[in-house]
């Protein structure tokens, strides 16, 4: 069964990932097993126009991980494209939209208060929200000691052990 989703484009294809990991550790034999799609919610907020420090197009944005419900800031406007992928490769979300938006607001406020060192919170209003998926390569490594698995972010190339 297939499904149409919005997702980040894969910037690092499977050959490239193998190639790069191989350069990092030549003694390990790497192979890409599959590609999975991880759900996030993207929220973009505009800051109150009256605030004198920001010009009128002041925007902040974050993504909410729809499984753990934790937020992270993003630097630049993400580009989503439409893909048709197998349902088997899509991780199901556990956090509903309402909860995600609440967490996003909390997260933005917290970050503003920490990063900008201000106590007078600017008013924020939602300008864009979108459910999207991020592709992760599942890579297996084999060496003398055995096998291990990595998840590699197909967009940024960053990875973590599983």
């Amino acid at each position: 069964m297939n499904q149409l989703i919005k997702a980040n484009r894969v910037d690092f294809n499977n050959e490239e990932i193998i190639n790069r990991l191989g350069k990092l550790e030549p003694t390990v034999n790497f192979s890409v097993k599959r590609l999975v799609y991880y759900p996030y919610y993207f929220f973009e907020y505009g800051l109150d126009k009256k605030s004198f420090i920001f010009p009128s197009n002041g925007l902040v944005a974050c993504t909410i991980d729809l499984i753990s419900g934790s937020g992270s800031l993003i630097d630049s406007e993400p580009v989503f494209e439409k893909f048709i992928v197998s349902k088997m490769d899509i991780i199901e979300d556990l956090v509903d939209t309402e909860k995600a938006e609440k967490e996003a607001q909390h997260f933005i406020f917290r970050t503003i208060s920490l990063k900008m060192k201000i106590f007078k919170m600017p008013n924020i209003n939602l300008t864009r929200q979108e459910l999207f998926y991020r592709p992760y390569w599942i890579v297996q490594g084999n060496d003398k000691k055995g096998t291990f698995t990595l998840a590699v972010d197909g967009k940024s190339g960053k990875y973590h052990s599983l």
């Binding site: 690092f12 350069k23 990092l24 190339g157 960053k158 990875y159």
Partner: protein
Amino acid sequence: MFNLPMETAWAFLPWPILWLGLALYMYFKLKKEDHWEDTIVKKEKGED
């Protein structure tokens, strides 16, 4: 040295060099760990 008694000179003067040494050591230690990030940044800039 610098008209300081020997004891004082030995107690204080070597420290800046020790600290800079430690900083250099940490620098190279961290540098060794940055390979992956380097290749990613290069790709983003389109050099690779």
